[in-house]
Subunit: 267 residues, 2 copies
């Protein structure tokens, strides 16, 4: 069954690999975005980007031509976990990129009782990983729960110079070393998709997620009850079209093709 | 049943945490080692140490007072994998500590068709991990097997300044990122224990392994058909005495107590 047979009442869009690729707008994505706004279909941007703040993401998109995106349209894991940390009065060891630290303003970091893993990229080093490991092991030895929070579970993403390890492998390393079981904020956690869906006052089966990550975007959306459409941009690999466990509801060359299909199907 | 009820015809000893702790001989271990040599019980040293060469390990032990240990008594994963790489004409990306590179003399490193993970410690950084990741992903895209060789699967070990991540978590990170299934050289691979046992012309059930790693030493030895005795030195933690999956054949305060028990039982 085509992903277009049921009404597409709203969209969730990934940012990296769908709207932009590094510092470039993906071919057709500006036009696609323009059309989405013209037809007035509700959308939210759901990103596992954790190297920068949401405010910075808005600014970067604006520079590429994606104007009029307010921060409230963007769902990202760092603000979600920061809210959770405040609600639970947690003290966090933040294994995150320095650029995203402003999202954690006001979080206590002394005597940590949890570890938060973001995409620290080149700031993942042996010394910092050891520190995070020791926090978890200390909790275990104190017979406390090893609270390990991960801002996603992505395996890798695309940068200008090639594919790069995402935060997932580093979370897996800490899980292997300690036996902790990470709690995932962000995609593919259904809670994350549902927050964005509910924000549009939709139900999951009315919404289509469009992304370049076969597991995090497509598989995650499907498990949350949405349709998942894969784009052949960003980190897409030919092998994703015959993935062992995830079968996309649709595959399109890029966002523009997806938007054109939606428009031609409903107009 | 006590681990002493069946004859103890030979021993395998871990080095770090049994003979020495960092740059110190463990209390009683020099005396224990002396007695072992006096009673003439055959032994081999089986170590997952991959930060230095076997030659350097011999020199370090000698400085601590463990003299008359020839390199041929030491079983370590790096020489084992180097031999394997030569036999299979492999070209390796070596994610290892610079100090152990001499073991890999003569191994081709250009256009790699495999990745070798050793305990690179502070040389585990984002850039090197990305390089290793890209080698594996290239192999996958060329429909070749992702050859990932790991010099052990230890979770952590003890250094002067505290517990440190071992190579296992970094191997787990690469497995998570790529889907590769690492082949383990060194403990707890039964092949590794058996090589040392056969070198003494013994059968596994005649040999006792003494180590401070509940999984790698004790559990590994037991799966290889040996008895596994845990020492309360090195990285031993109280919680190891009630481990969820591994029940040691014996637990002793240190190597000296183990040797004294053997001597009193058979004299």
């Amino acid at each position: 069954m085509s992903w277009l047979e049921k009404p597409v009442k709203a969209l969730l869009l990934d940012i990296s690999g769908v709207l932009r690729d590094g510092d470039q707008a993906i071919v057709g994505s500006l036009e696609a975005f323009q059309r989405l706004q013209e037809i007035g279909i509700p959308f939210r941007l759901v990103t596992n980007e954790t190297q920068v703040t949401v405010q910075k993401t808005v600014e970067k998109l604006s520079k590429l031509g994606f104007t009029s995106i307010s921060p409230s349209l963007i769902f990202a894991p760092a603000p979600a976990v920061a809210t959770f940390l405040k609600e639970t009065l947690s003290r966090a060891f933040l294994l995150v990129h320095p650029n995203v630290l402003p999202e954690f303003d006001g979080i206590e970091t002394s005597d940590p009782n949890c570890v938060v893993v973001g995409d620290a990229a080149e700031h993942f080093n042996y010394s910092r990983l050891n520190e995070a490991f020791r926090v978890l092991l200390r909790l275990r030895e104190e017979n406390k729960e090893m609270q390990l929070y991960s801002l996603g579970k992505g395996k890798y993403y695309k940068e200008e110079d090639g594919l790069c390890l995402d935060l997932g492998p580093f979370t897996a390393a800490l899980e292997y070393a300690t036996g902790a079981d990470a709690r995932i904020f962000g995609k593919p956690n259904p809670v994350f998709f549902h927050a964005a869906v509910q924000d549009m006052k939709m139900s999951p089966d009315e919404v289509v997620m469009i992304g370049d990550d076969i597991l995090g975007d497509v598989g995650g959306a499907q498990r949350a009850g949405l349709r998942g459409v894969l784009v052949r941009t960003g980190k897409f690999r030919i092998s994703d079209e015959n993935h062992a466990t995830v079968k996309p509801d649709g595959i399109v060359d890029n966002l523009l093709q997806a938007v054109n299909l939606i428009m031609s199907h409903y107009n």
